[in-house]
Amino acid sequence: MQKIITIIRKEWAEVFKNRMVLFTIAFMPLLLTAIPLIILFTMRGEMQIASAGAADIPAQFKAFCPAELSGNECFQVFMVSQFVFMFMIIPLSIPAAIAAYSVVGEKTTRSLEPLLATPITTIELLLGKSLAAVIPAVFATFLAFTIFACGVWLIVPNRIMLLAILNARWLLAVLIVGPLLAWLSVTFSVMVSSRVNDPRVAEQLSVVIIVPLLGLFFGQMAGLLIIDRQLVLVIALILVLVDALMTYFSVQLFQRETILTRWK
């Protein structure tokens, strides 16, 4: 356990001195928190479809809309709800940025060989590096969501709308799917870093993990699917399985010899 803690502290000491990584960690959550709040604030009272009832709105809006809300309110809830996905980008991108720096960075600075020459096991090393990437991501996601929830509470005019926005789907997504995505992201980054020859390729490939999430985002925007509580739970279950598999493969693929001899 001491070695894992040592690796985590070392990673944080190193990574947080990198301005680019700091920018990713701080800026993205702030941006993704501010956008839905700004949309919510600007839409408040300005939409002229208030006369429409919930029954008149498009089908994909209805999933987000309690019967008591007006069409305008339903639309606002729908729009803001799209940003559930944006909040999922936080736990995906932050670990990718940190892991790409920490795993690939070890190689580029040639510090990996002396590190691997210590009695640390592969599992301890990967666990330390993974947790160092996942913990800030989950913390940033939770913090961003807390700020968002406070903002929504201040902006929306009534309790029904507040609960329509901050519903169980949001909480499940942020509290369960978020950490699972963060773990997926970091294991994927480790796998990529272990197999490619060029550190720059590793950094670029690590970002690919965001693509399926964007697919879900645009699918819902286009009305092709509705992300409700059940779907979030299904996604969480799938992620548990995928994470377990990815963890297994990332340990298997982290071949000390391959990494030391193939990377130039």
Binding site: Q2, K3, T6, K10, A13, E14, K17, N18, T109, R110, S111, L112, E113, P114, L115, L116, A117, T118, P119, I120, T121, R256, E257, L260, T261
Partner: protein, 302 residues
Amino acid sequence: MIVIENLTKQFGQNLAVEGLNLEVQEGEVFGFLGPNGAGKTTTVRMLTSLIQPTSGKAVVNGFTVGRQDTQIRRTVGLLTETPGLYDNLSAEYNLRIYANLYEVKDVAGQVEKYLRLLGLWERRFEPAATLSKGMKQKLAIARAMLHEPRILFLDEPTSALDPESARLVRDFIAELRKEGRTIFLCTHNLDEADRACDRIAVFKTRLVVVDTPANLRRQLFGRKVVFHLVNLDETLAAKVRALPFIQETRILDNRLVVTLDNPEARNPQIIRTLVEAGAELQFVGELRHSLEEVYLQLVKNV
């Protein structure tokens, strides 16, 4: 301390190390010499359990490579070819990390000991990136020593160092030798190997030769004594050549170069012969071939 039997490493079609057999004794400073790409670093990586041999066996400090890798890593120290420090972190923090990873009991004490020993104490809070090349190398050596390993693998410890820093590193190696530690030294610096090593191995994918530097000189070039004479001529040279134990004589300007065994016993007789023949002798000394000449001669034939 280190026993290597038929150790082989192949990367795809490329044979990096072939059938290496070697024994390094406890407390020995062992030089491992070879040209670039000879497989020196690959051998060190196998012996420090960083990579696995394709075939053969290596036992380091009583532990077998491939089966007891963690124990090997726990008991050996490795100075890699490049320092590989965490540049953004302070010198002290770099060492603290490794002291923890090596499970050192008195982390603060050991870190202070080696920072002071290698003259880095005053700069301990500075980021590694701001240190000079020599200081970085010293910090990397300190890192390899924190857990007090009995065997130390040093891969090019003085490469790219200025003479003063190189001297400090060499003195440090000498200190480690006095403490009875076993040192496996990979180097291109043949003068350094000559001065520091008890034995050297010349290696180029396979072992070319292993012996003491003195024995290698003797085997390749014999022992030569140079007599500086004011009045050297062929008559004097013939007098010396006539002695029964002389293997070869050569005249170079006013120097008579004589090849023979056991010059300590034979030199007085040669001097006597020369003086009796009217030679005016200025100096007598042993012609010592450099290790570089020995090395180049050995590698040329591989």
